[in-house]
Amino acid sequence: EPEVTQTPSHQVTQMGQEVILRCVPISNHLYFYWYRQILGQKVEFLVSFYNNEISEKSEIFDDQFSVERPDGSNFTLKIRSTKLEDSAMYFCASTVGQGQPQHFGDGTRLSIL
């Protein structure tokens, strides 16, 4: 069964450094998402992406965050200057169309030191 894949599974970065999290969505899906889950807290929406542009973003998704679909398969989340509070599990998700269930990857655990 097709699945969303994320790399790396764990990323450790010094505060202030840039980090790029990578995702390969399911191949026929058109809508892409990033969520995050701080340890012990709820899964929170960050951003949605469709037709090569952001369709919606949350208050968390400030100027330090950006997303890109550099080719036909990858979908990336970049954090320009990481902060301690960016430490979380980051999930990528994709769906074939609006009103359809989102399928999630296994996540990247980001640890900021």
């Binding site: 929406f45 949605s48 369709s55 919606e56 949350s58 998700a93 009103g99 996540g107």
Partner: protein
């Protein structure tokens, strides 16, 4: 207040017992999703409900969306250790947008053999 609340927060049951998890929204639900998450791992899609009164089943798990579309229940029949994990309800609460999913805080289920 939380947009989506789940009860109970945690549940410990003997193998073979039935159980129910509830998800209540402060707003009308335009789409309701149930996911399962194992600790430190990704979200596994279980079921999607969209119409008031809708009920879906998969193996020993049944989910219902009430007529007023503000509450859903997930029922597991004859629980097994493989059912253990965190159950998350997620919802579309904005009719004009299917983009973001709002998640509840989760219900942690342990099944004792």
């Amino acid at each position: 207040s939380q947009e989506l609340e789940q009860s109970p927060q945690s549940l410990i049951v003997q193998e073979g017992k039935n159980l129910t998890i509830n998800c209540t929204s402060s707003k009308t639900l335009y789409g309701l999703y149930w996911y399962k998450q194992k600790y430190g791992e990704g979200l596994i899609f279980l079921m999607m409900l969209q119409k008031g009164g809708e009920e879906k089943s998969h193996e020993k798990i049944t989910a219902k969306l009430d007529e007023k579309k503000q509450q859903s229940s997930l029922h597991i029949t004859a629980s097994q250790p493989s059912h253990a994990g965190i159950y998350l309800c997620g919802a579309d609460i904005t009719k004009t947008s299917y983009d973001k999913v709002i998640f509840g805080p989760g219900t942690s289920l342990s099944v004792i053999p």
